[in-house]
């Protein structure tokens, strides 16, 4: 259609120049998006290239040996999985529950406005501050010690704002008319939420939850003072034990251990990256599965 219009117009300098400018504009925009993608590809490529040699069965399933310069990273993998699980157990019920309250029940009052403001601000707090807060509250005051419980709780608090705001957004995107129809058929507000709104909002909620957990699983600062062990070549026996964790382990072997083979550093980074990315893929699959069942 555009071409058709062009063909009937007398060509003049002005038009030609405008199209040249347009092409230039497109060029700049394409370049900008390529620049965004390039670092990601570069980082992933470099980590795979330099770390893949370290990956073998022993590396994934054995305890570290020789001052972590040999052996495997099994306890760090298990620790990160446990911490992510613990974070999920705390953050999902509180986060989704809070989102349901804010999106579905809360009236517009100064209190709910204050809650919203707090959530926005929580999301902007540096993660090391969460770490200090966790140390003060969970490790010392509540007496959990440096433990999986303290670390999970700290990570959960850090994750809550992400889960709450994405879940609230997902709930609000379900048209209000569904709630009205359910109410008009004698449903209580909760029945409408439970039967209609939540299923429709689930893809968005799952996305938010997984994004939050991904961040939690990859964080170093919040676990620094609350759970992470420098070197602990055994698996945790109880939730009150310390554990190694991949991000902190990576930090340790990259900065604290002289003479560490680079291959082990990159191998550890590769494992962390693979864990995070595979969770991401799971999130995408779940989301598209539910989205196909949605109807508006």
């Amino acid at each position: 259609m555009m071409l058709g219009i062009l063909a009937h117009k007398p060509a003049n300098m002005n038009t030609a120049r405008r199209y040249a400018v347009q092409r230039l504009g497109f060029g700049v925009l394409i370049l900008a998006s390529l620049l965004v993608v390039a670092p990601i590809l570069f980082v992933i490529g470099a980590i795979i290239a330099r770390g893949v040699g370290a990956i073998n069965w022993e590396f994934l399933t054995a305890m570290p040996r020789d001052g972590m310069k040999a052996g495997g990273i099994f306890p760090a993998i298990v620790g990160t999985l446990l911490l992510t699980l613990g974070t999920a157990l705390v953050a999902i019920p509180f986060g989704v529950g809070g989102a349901i309250y804010l999106a579905e029940y809360a009236r517009d009052t100064w209190l709910t406005r204050a809650i919203r403001l707090a959530i926005v601000n929580l999301a902007g707090i540096p993660s090391v501050v969460y770490g200090l807060f966790g140390l003060g509250l969970f490790v010392l005051f509540l007496g959990f010690g440096t433990s999986i419980v303290a670390g999970s709780l700290t990570l959960a608090i850090m994750t809550l704002p992400v889960i709450i705001s994405t879940s609230e957004e997902a709930l609000r995107s379900v048209p209000v008319e569904f709630r009205t129809v359910s109410a008009s058929l004698g449903g209580t507000r909760w029945q409408g939420i439970r039967n209609i709104v939540l299923p429709q909002a689930l893809p968005g909620i799952i996305t938010g939850v997984i994004l939050g957990l991904l961040r939690a699983g990859g964080e170093t600062a919040p676990i620094l003072f609350t759970v992470a062990a420098f070197f602990l070549p055994r698996l945790p026996q109880s939730p009150l034990d310390q554990t190694m964790a991949l991000p902190y382990h990576l930090y340790v072997i990259s900065t604290q251990v002289p003479g560490m083979p680079a291959e082990i550093q990159y191998g550890t980074a590769l494992v962390l990256l693979a864990l995070v990315l595979s969770l991401n893929v799971v999130a995408t699959v779940i989301r598209s599965y539910f989205r196909r069942k949605r109807q508006w």
């Binding site: 009236r107 517009d108 048209p175 008319e177 569904f178 709630r179 009205t180 129809v181 359910s182 109410a183 008009s184 058929l185 004698g186 449903g187 209580t188 507000r189 029945q191 039967n195 209609i196 299923p199 429709q200 069942k293 949605r294 109807q295």
Partner: protein, 263 residues
């Protein structure tokens, strides 16, 4: 209606719903101003008026759908069978089972045709398969939809045409056997054939239900009204038997509206 006289207006002999001195504000804007009228049972009552006249709001007040809104204020009282529906201790879910509602845009719930019909009864605790089946057949028949969908009750409700979806929504609200049926411009999105099917079903339904409808045109109002109330900027201007209001309106503003001088 072939009785010689339809009982007039503000005091019908058997009022199902009485609206007394109802005023309503939303965000400090007055939507309804001191409205008083009584809606007779087993008849079609029409709430007529231009956009912003408050007719839809009044409709929603009758089954308390506006309860969820913030910053509103309701004065006056609304009675259903002499019971104040805004009184303390009224169970809103029970009220809405007695007062059903059909909206301007058909909105099937996620799920099949059958699940849509049974949404209300199941929430009300109905588990018996046989009874459920009876309800599906009865409601779809009453809404003049049975013949078209009887072979595909388990296909998704969204697969139906717009007209069918709106009749499904009517059937869905009938599933609870409400005493009152509120219809808010139920044919605004429909083609003429579907519209006349919906209007026909109203004549059947009023034997059994008390019907209040906000019509989507003056012509439709004139076709279906036993009683008609004309609203303008939140005030009730005139409320009389339908054929009187449409053939010999008393108020100048009513006449201007129904003859199309403004709209």
């Amino acid at each position: 209606m072939n009785q010689p006289t339809i009982q007039p207006t503000n005091q019908p002999t058997n009022p199902k719903i009485r609206i007394e001195h109802v005023s309503y504000t939303y965000d400090d804007k007055t939507v309804l101003r001191d409205v008083t009228l009584a809606v007779p049972a087993h008849a079609v009552t029409v709430f007529l008026g231009p956009a912003g006249s408050g007719k839809s709001t009044l409709l929603r007040l009758i089954n308390r759908l506006n309860d969820v809104l913030d910053h509103t204020r309701l004065d006056g009282r609304i009675f259903l069978d002499d019971q104040d529906i805004y009184a303390r201790g009224v169970a809103v879910s029970d009220l809405r089972r007695r007062v059903g509602m059909v909206f301007a845009l058909p909105l099937p719930l996620p799920g099949t045709i059958r699940e849509n019909i049974l949404y209300g009864p199941r929430l009300a605790g109905l588990r018996d398969r046989g009874r459920q089946e009876e309800i599906v057949v009865r409601c779809l028949t009453q809404a003049a939809l049975w013949d078209e969908v009887k072979d595909r009750l388990d296909s998704p409700a969204v697969s139906m045409s717009g007209g069918q979806q709106q009749r499904l929504c009517i059937a869905r609200s009938l599933a609870l056997e409400p005493e009152v049926l509120l219809l808010d411009e139920p044919t605004s999105g429909l083609d003429p054939i579907s519209t006349s099917k919906v209007e026909e079903s109203l004549f059947e339904l009023k034997q059994q239900y008390t019907i209040i409808i906000v019509p989507h045109s003056v012509q439709q109002a004139a076709r279906v009204a036993d009683h008609a109330a004309f609203f303008l900027t939140g005030e009730l201007v005139e409320y009389r038997p339908g054929r009187e209001l449409f053939t010999a309106p008393r108020d100048r503003r009513t006449e201007d509206y129904i003859t199309g001088r403004f709209g």
